[in-house]
């Protein structure tokens, strides 16, 4: 390898060249001569001794064995120690500059701090949203098993499944390690003479505690639900009943008759858990309380959320094929009527953001909102970066002399680039530190803004990420200024030939346009969001809810016994106009649905699944629901309770009955339970305005013991008097039962909690982005008017009016903002169309939105620069022209 050309010069062998080169590469320069000499000496020693062939190998071996730290390590050079001084100098200059150019520096610092704070807050929220339910030890192996139901008239997916799945799947399939059902129930819980309605009691299988990792504060997991009458409480519910005393082993009375032993205390489920509960009882108890026989064997319907824990690496596809095959074979009743359930799996950690099924959890998030806010977070960072770039380049002339002198003294361009990058990174680091403090103080109060408490768990790694992120931010912000400022030619700088403020003017202008485009797009978005929400809140729901009070008593027997007395007592007061009893038919939040055979226009029966409500004769009157055809249930027709049914207009359309009039007389159900349609109600929204009104069946109640809740139409002009009367009367008639009422309009508002929260978060961040953009504009206007001060002076001397001058200076900025409006319009239009598509009832984007967003942006920009323009225009030209 090495001896190739040595023979041409002299007949002397040389060591292998590549090894020699390798040595020269790794050896520290100050050691090289001595070490290389030594190896050569060995080499030629060997050759002298007639070991020419071995000499080469020994040389190579020597080169390799010398690859040691003390030979590789470079001597710390004179220059290196000097550069430490250079860094000190850079930091010193940075601080001096900060002081000298206070306005720009403070604007930068403010902008960066606001944007980093916003970014961190949004990021913490996103992190939380993305890590929902990840805290369970088996999270990766747990799946929910919802289904898609198909009948001849409709198809929908629901989060709940037949009860047999959770009871049996883990016994039938080896891949399913564990399974649990998760259902809801309510009950009156009594301790001493205090009784409360508890709404968030869950019924589960014993496996629930093995599959999910809840923190146990007291009790033994194995004993939790061993006995029928046992109840597990969360910490906060235990506190409600027992205060600071130990709740474990205590007894609570359920349903006024059943003594329940507290067998365990759990920590409250964390905010980032889809499963929320306050107390837990067993599935066996539910069987007794609900008097059901088929809870472990019924494969149809939608009763519970069912969770499966699969074996790691289980073949899910195969499993689901088998499960669906099994269920189809069990559900011959449905198959014969052309209905089917198709089950599928949802990974536990995927449900929060990516599931929107019927009967899904109300605390579900939205992947769309997460991506919207990710974009907003980065836009806000970008805006602050642009401010830095614009202000640094606009003020570059101030640094020109410094750059010129440094270059003459011998600074390399890379040194200068380094200097400006360090400056930008430094300011970002300071902003990040302030932002960190702000986040610390703001986070607790943002909980109610974001919808839940956020547990901030900071660790060393998150600080490392913050630090690295800030460095990157500093480099991004400082990159362009560093390259443009360091490019100044010393000669022209020192001769004063540099035209002030001209450097990077085009880029600066484009960046301002970019900034305002983003800001205006956000303003258009917030106007649209606002308009849509106002529309939703004021939309006619098809029912009158202004005066409705809703009372739920969970179908307690004692209340049902006194129905007539209560009704008569309340109607004695003029404030109460109408009272309706019904069962599970509160038109806000989740009606139940069931399957039924329906007669089509052609007289054929098809299968269908409809939402249904079970109500009394006063329901329509109380809720102000109007009839499209026929009549409502009436006491005049005693056969109504067994023979009649009403539907809504959506159902008429879905069955192809033509008109409401044609629907009258159609048959539903199979004999002996066949009913005749006696009336059609106009559509009213019972699912919120996200969804179209679904087909609905209105049934009368067969037995007055089935009622579970009441709607009261009452005069609420004096709410204290009306509610006081209600409370007094209730206490008199039902002293055992706590009165649990809500105002209907509040319930409806609650349906849009998510949207209202979205609006307020969006509003805050769009205002912040406008603020940041204006900070930049202010700095830019200041720098550029200062540089044109002489021009303005001369124009004034020559007779320009104040108005002329204001126009001259403002025009440039306003043109940029106007261009941004043009660019932002299609962007925002596209984005908001996507957002509005999520609503069944929506507004259309109107030109008014774009116009008002444009006016806001122009107005704010004008106000921002007005101080500078006025100052420049009104100043005495003598002052600006005298010097020189």
């Amino acid at each position: 390898m090495g001896n190739d050309n040595s023979g041409l010069k002299e007949n002397k062998p040389t060591p292998p060249k590549w090894a020699d080169k390798f040595l020269e590469w790794y050896c520290a320069p100050h050691q090289l001569e001595d070490v290389q000499g030594a190896l050569y000496e060995y080499y030629y020693d060997k050759i002298e001794n007639g070991q020419a062939s071995r000499a080469k190998w020994f040389f190579i071996l020597d080169v390799i064995t010398h690859f040691r730290p003390h030979i590789i390590k470079r001597k710390s050079s004179h220059f290196a120690s000097n550069s430490l001084g250079m860094y000190k100098e850079i930091i010193k200059t940075a601080i001096r500059n900060f002081r000298k150019n206070q306005l720009a520096s403070i604007l930068n610092l403010l902008g960066l701090t606001i944007s980093i704070t916003s970014f961190l807050l949004i990021w913490i929220w996103i992190h939380q949203e993305k890590n929902f339910d990840a805290f369970h030890e088996h999270a990766a192996d747990i799946y929910r098993i919802p289904n898609t139901f198909k009948s001849e008239s409709e198809t929908f997916s629901q989060a709940v499944s037949g009860p047999a799945l959770g009871a049996q799947l883990h016994k039938l399939f080896p891949q399913v390690v564990n399974a649990t059902r998760f259902g809801s129930t309510t009950a009156v819980i009594k301790l001493g003479d205090q009784s409360y309605f508890e709404n968030r009691i869950r019924v589960v299988d014993p496996n629930f505690f093995d599959m999910f990792s809840w923190e146990v504060l007291a009790g033994d997991k194995a004993d939790f639900l061993r006995e029928l009458n046992s109840i597990v409480l969360t910490e906060s519910l235990a506190k409600k009943y027992f205060g600071e005393n130990s709740a474990l082993g205590q007894t609570l009375i359920m349903d006024n008759e059943r003594p329940m032993k507290v067998t365990g205390i759990l920590k409250d489920p964390p905010a980032n858990s889809q499963l929320q509960f306050e107390a837990i009882t067993s599935m066996n108890l539910a069987k007794v309380r609900w008097e059901t026989q088929d809870m472990d064997t019924n494969w149809g319907g939608g009763w519970f959320h069912t969770y499966l824990q699969l074996e790691p690496n289980a073949d899910q596809e195969n499993l689901m094929v088998e499960v669906n095959k099994l269920i189809t074979s069990k559900l011959t009743f449905f198959t014969e009527r052309n209905m089917s359930y198709h089950y599928f799996l949802q990974p536990l950690t995927d449900i929060h953001l990516n599931s929107d099924l019927r009967y899904d959890f109300s605390n579900n998030g939205s992947a769309r909102n997460v991506s919207i806010f990710t974009a907003v977070a980065f836009i806000i960072l970008l805006l602050a970066c642009i401010n830095y770039i614009n202000l640094s380049t606009a003020n570059a002339i101030r640094r020109a002399k410094e750059v010129g002198i440094k270059k003459i003294i011998g600074a390399l361009r890379t040194d200068l680039i380094k200097q400006f990058l360090i400056e930008s990174t430094l300011i970002c680091l300071i902003s990040a530190l302030i932002a960190l403090g702000l986040v610390y103080f703001l986070l607790p109060s943002s909980a109610n803004f974001l919808g839940y408490d956020i547990a901030l768990n900071v660790n060393a790694l998150s600080f490392l990420w913050l630090f690295l992120g800030t460095l990157v931010l500093g480099l991004v912000a400082g990159f362009f200024p560093a390259f443009s400022i360091s490019a100044f030619k010393p000669l022209s700088v020192l001769k004063g030939q540099l035209k002030s403020g001209k450097q990077g003017a085009l880029i600066r202008k484009s960046l301002v346009v970019l900034q305002f485009t983003a800001t205006i797009a956000l303003i258009i978005a917030i106007i649209t969001v606002n308009g849509q929400l106002r529309y939703i809140q004021n939309k006619d729901l098809g029912m009158q809810t202004d005066e409705v009070i809703y009372v739920s008593y969970r179908g307690l027997q004692s209340v049902n016994n006194n129905q007539e007395i209560l009704k008569n007592e309340l109607l004695k007061s003029a404030a109460f106009k109408s009272i309706s009893f019904y069962r599970n038919s509160h038109p806000v939040g989740g009606l139940s649905n069931s399957t039924v055979q329906v007669e089509t226009e052609a007289g054929k029966k098809v299968s269908s699944s409809l939402y249904n409500i079970r109500v009394d004769e006063s329901y329509a009157e109380t809720y102000g629901i109007e009839l499209a055809a026929g009549r409502f249930f009436s006491e005049v027709f005693p056969t109504d309770s067994t023979n009649s049914v009403l539907v809504n207009e959506a159902a008429v359309a879905s069955f192809g009955w033509g008109s409401p009039e044609q629907a009258l007389g159609k048959k539903m159900g199979v004999a002996p339970f066949e009913r005749t349609v006696v009336g059609v109600v106009k559509d009213f929204n019972f699912e919120g305005l996200h969804k179209e009104v679904a087909p609905l069946r209105i049934l009368p109640i067969r037995n007055k013991d089935d009622y579970s809740e009441i709607a009261l139409k009452a005069d609420l002009s004096d709410p204290f008097k009306t509610l006081g009367f209600l409370e007094k009367t209730w206490k008199k008639i039902n002293p055992e039962v706590p009165l649990d009422y809500t105002i209907m309009n509040e319930d409806i508002k609650d349906q849009y909690q998510g949207e209202l929260r979205f609006r307020s978060i969006f509003l805050v961040f769009s205002i912040l982005s406008l603020v940041i953009a204006c900070l930049g504009l202010l700095g830019l206007a200041t720098a550029l008017t200062n540089q044109r001060i002489k021009e303005i002076g001369i124009r004034k001397v020559l007779g320009a009016s104040n108005f002329n001058l204001i126009k001259l200076i403002s025009r440039e900025f306003l043109l940029l903002v106007a261009l941004s409006i043009v660019l932002a319009t299609p962007l925002a239009w596209y984005g908001m169309e996507q957002w509005l598509a999520g609503f069944a009832y929506r507004i259309d984007m109107s030109w008014v939105f774009f116009l008002s967003a444009g006016c806001i942006a122009l107005g704010v920009a004008l106000i921002t620069i007005s101080y500078q323009t006025l100052k420049a225009a009104l100043s005495n030209p003598v002052l600006s022209l005298r010097t020189e």
């Binding site: 001569e33 001595d34 070490v35 290389q36 000499g37 030594a38 190896l39 050569y40 000496e41 060995y42 080499y43 030629y44 020693d45 020597d62 064995t65 010398h66 040691r68 003390h70 030979i71």
Partner: protein
């Protein structure tokens, strides 16, 4: 570096540098160690040791013209410093003291 501690190998190298000043460069020292102790040493080990002694201040060095074999490269020649000399003497005195305690059998 821990003060004036002198390892066995370091002591050997230092002694050779005093005893044979004309051979007091890395290759020369390595060869003498070969001759005297009859143990094969690798050059890089000797070099590392010399480096260490330089750092401890027991040796000083100077680049001097080398032989033809080195391809015209100079060699680093080491001379003992007063501190080195003193340390060597101290080590010898300690050894002598201990030898004196040994009663001949």
């Amino acid at each position: 570096m821990k003060g004036t501690n002198l390892g066995e190998f370091e002591e050997l190298v230092l002694l050779i540098a005093v005893a044979r000043p004309e051979e007091a460069y890395s290759v020369g020292i390595a060869k003498i160690i070969d001759e005297v102790t009859d143990r094969k040493v690798v050059h890089s080990v000797v070099h590392a040791c010399l480096n260490r002694l330089l750092k401890k201040g027991f040796l000083s060095s100077e680049m001097k013209a080398g032989s033809n074999k080195r391809g015209g490269r100079r060699k680093r020649v080491y001379t003992i410093t007063p501190l080195g000399m003193k340390t060597l003497e101290m080590v010898k005195a300690q050894r002598d003291k201990l030898w004196a305690m040994i009663t001949p059998a």
